[in-house]
């Protein structure tokens, strides 16, 4: 049962009709600004999150583009770290909203004054691949061709590039916790886009815009979503198996992380790694020269910089309960180390062990911030 | 057969022996040790603990319908173990005295038995079983009773625990003055 409305698509261009919908939001004053992924009016047309207040400046907005330069959650957290009395709309992918929910739990942002508009996500390309595609076809055309090829069943690949492994294994294509959902699945996006209101804030906003919404389930959409989810889950489980096998002992893990140069870029890109400065960049880890020598003496040889495996394992320990699998860590790694697969695999196991799904809702407590009197007695061998 | 029992103010008159008894038992906190210790508690209709409770609550009539205090064999276990140090065995004896004095005909067998025993001891200085039992059977006037004692009698005879002496040979016991003194004391009380 869901409350859904429609955006009729004019001259088979969903992107511009979506832009008109967003213009409506600004013109009606429901929100004072819209944070949306927009094609920048610059030479090689990069797609970046943009905070737009003037409806006219929305014409580059393209949330449907298969581009995912960075996880917008960190931008929204900067916007809402301190109470912001102006309401804003955030057009985001499901993983961005889930990441932001985790950040809210860590007091890095607040969700009161934000209207979440969650776009169905059919997958995105890595930054390098997308730049090539964007360079070859101008403007929103690349977005339309991407969606048309999916609609016609030709899949997500264009040329030799395909959507990133993280997106292929993402089992949350629909933003169920967004106030308003933009439904692509189960709709012919050249005629209309679905408008799903998941919360009463969403219903209020749509009501304000005069878009009537009726109750009723959407069998077509539901089966499309289920199909996509089962396909993605199959891919995901294969990926889990392969990755687990690839890191099943420290030697293999070192091979897996062989190209890592401790640039810590994956941490910078990760939306839920919220520390202002990572402990590995503080004085705790700038070791004394004598210490390096002592390690080298004990082990015979010492790769520099050290603490690579230590860094990844510690980062796993810190954020595996909050990882939402957005893939930005692999996206940001200069040496193409498959970090996302490793972190997604381990986080899935950890979150299942604690019975916690990252970003699902603002109410459930992060597992390591709470504790119980009688629990997990298997950890202490049955003693309590 | 729980029936409502008006627990009015327990009747207190100055010299009533019954109030004497209940004053002794007031400190009882119904811990049940006496009943637990009592050898013959199993055969009693009201356990000793219930007797003290009835005394406390002044349920006199109902108390004297009970056979409990007749069955008390004065082994003093209860008095020894009572955490309140109450004179329980003496209370049982006092109840017997009150029962005989106020003629509660609740038990036709025990008073004549005790009386026959006391008379025999008074007369002969010791008990002569044959004479005592005949005197008891005569007092009880229940023909079936002697027959029920026959098996016991035969066993005692076989074991030489009892001889058949002829009644009537009066070798006067020397306890006469003792009995008189006791009767004087009881009257004075």
């Amino acid at each position: 049962m869901s409350k859904t409305g429609k955006i009729t698509v004019k001259d088979r261009d969903p992107v511009s009709s979506l832009q008109n919908f967003l213009k409506l939001l600004l013109e009606k004053g429901t929100v004072e600004a819209v944070l949306v992924q927009q094609r920048l009016p610059i030479q090689n047309a990069a797609v970046m999150p943009v905070l737009v207040t003037d409806p006219e400046k929305l014409e580059g907005a393209d949330p449907l583009a298969p581009a995912f330069p960075l996880n917008g959650a960190r931008m929204l957290s900067r916007l809402t770290r301190k109470p912001l009395d102006a309401p804003i709309a955030a057009v985001m992918r499901p993983c961005e909203i889930r990441a932001f929910f985790e950040l809210v739990k860590l007091k890095q942002g607040s969700a009161e004054n934000v209207v979440f508009i969650g776009v169905d996500c059919l997958g995105t390309y890595g930054n390098i691949d997308y730049q090539k595609i964007a360079a070859s076809t101008a403007g929103a055309e690349s977005t339309l061709t991407f969606h048309r090829s999916i609609l016609s069943g030709k899949g997500t690949a264009t040329g030799d590039a395909d959507i990133s492994p993280a997106c292929k294994s993402c089992d949350h294509p629909v933003a169920t916790n967004a106030d308003i959902g933009i439904g692509l699945l189960g709709a012919n996006i050249e005629e209309s886009l679905l408008l799903i209101s998941n919360t009463e804030k969403g219903a209020r906003v749509l009501g304000g815009l005069g878009i009537e919404v009726e109750e009723g389930d959407q069998p077509l959409r539901q089966s499309a979503v289920d199909a996509l989810v089962s396909e993605r889950t199959a891919y995901r489980d294969k990926m889990f198996e392969a990755t687990s096998e690839a890191v099943s002992d420290v030697q293999k893990l070192m091979g897996y992380l062989g190209n890592c140069v401790n640039c810590y870029n994956c941490r910078v890109a990760c939306p839920v790694c919220y520390c202002r400065e990572c402990v590995f960049t503080t004085d705790v880890f700038d070791h004394e020269p004598a210490q390096y020598l002592r390690w080298a003496k004990r082990k015979g040889a010492l790769k520099m910089p050290t603490d690579t495996v230590f860094y990844h394992l510690t980062r796993l320990a810190h954020m595996s309960t909050a990882c939402i699998g957005c893939g930005q860590c692999s996206n940001a790694c200069p040496n193409a180390v498959p970090v996302a697969e490793l972190f997604r695999t381990v986080s899935h196991g950890v979150q299942k062990a604690f019975g916690y799904l990252a970003g699902a809702s603002l109410d459930d407590e992060p597992p390591l911030s709470v504790f119980g009197e009688k629990e997990f007695s298997e950890v202490t061998g049955g003693k309590d | 057969m729980a029936h409502s029992q008006a627990l009015g103010a327990p009747g207190h008159s100055a010299r009533d022996p019954f109030s004497e008894i209940s004053k002794n038992l007031r400190a009882c906190m119904q811990c049940g040790t006496c009943t637990g210790s009592c050898g013959s508690a199993a055969k009693m209709d009201y356990t000793p603990r219930q007797v003290w409770r009835m005394v406390q609550s002044g349920l006199k009539e109902e108390l004297f319908t009970s056979r409990t205090f007749w069955l008390c064999s004065s082994c003093y276990y209860c008095t020894l173990r009572c955490p309140r140090g109450l004179p329980l065995t003496d209370t049982m004896a006092a109840l017997k005295r009150v029962a005989t004095a106020e003629k509660y005909a609740n038990d036709r067998k025990s008073p004549p038995f005790y009386k026959a025993f006391l008379d025999s001891v008074r007369k002969y200085g010791r008990v002569r079983e044959a004479e005592m039992m005949t005197r008891y059977f005569l007092a009880v006037k229940n023909p079936a009773l002697p027959l029920s004692f026959v098996p016991l009698g035969m066993k005692l005879l076989a074991k030489g625990k009892m001889e058949l002496q002829l009644p009537g040979v009066s070798r006067g016991g020397k306890l006469e003055r003792l009995y008189k003194k006791v009767m004087e004391l009881e009257a004075a009380q």
Partner: protein, 140 residues
């Protein structure tokens, strides 16, 4: 491989388990000298990275031992530590660290015998399990 002597890092809480360790010592209980005791004020103070560091530096096993739930001098330090150990026991075995190389237990102040028994049993188990060769091998 049973000829080597394992080195076990024991993160123990200053209150109950350290007292049990002293008790095991003063009651002259025979226990193997393989434990290296790091005395923390409370198991709730043990950051997961200390345990990861110990295992990566080549500790053959890590023991974390604190007060029984309810005994903690700081009310609930041990309960928080249990959750962190649950996290580590979920992550580390995926990379080939045998589950038995990371043990958590509660040892009360009077359980000197338990402490000696845990030390003996763990040393035997790890000796049989084999050396953690990261100690002398280059780790990235």
């Amino acid at each position: 491989m049973a000829d080597y002597e394992p080195t076990i890092i024991a993160f123990v809480c200053n209150w109950c388990t350290y007292t049990a360790a002293d008790l095991a010592g003063t009651s002259r209980l025979v226990q193997p000298p393989n434990l290296r005791m790091v005395r923390m004020m409370c198991t709730g103070m043990i950051d997961p990275k200390y345990i990861i560091k110990a295992l990566l530096e080549g500790a053959d096993a890590v023991l974390v031992s604190g007060c029984h739930p309810g005994d903690c001098h700081y009310i609930n330090g041990n309960l928080k530590a249990r959750r962190r150990m649950k996290l580590l026991k979920e992550i580390l075995p995926r990379f080939g660290f045998d589950e038995r190389r990371l043990k958590m237990t509660w040892i009360g102040a009077s359980e000197g015998i338990d402490f000696a028994e845990t030390a003996r049993q763990m040393t035997a188990e790890i000796k049989e399990l084999g050396r953690n060769d990261l100690r002398t091998r280059m780790v990235l």
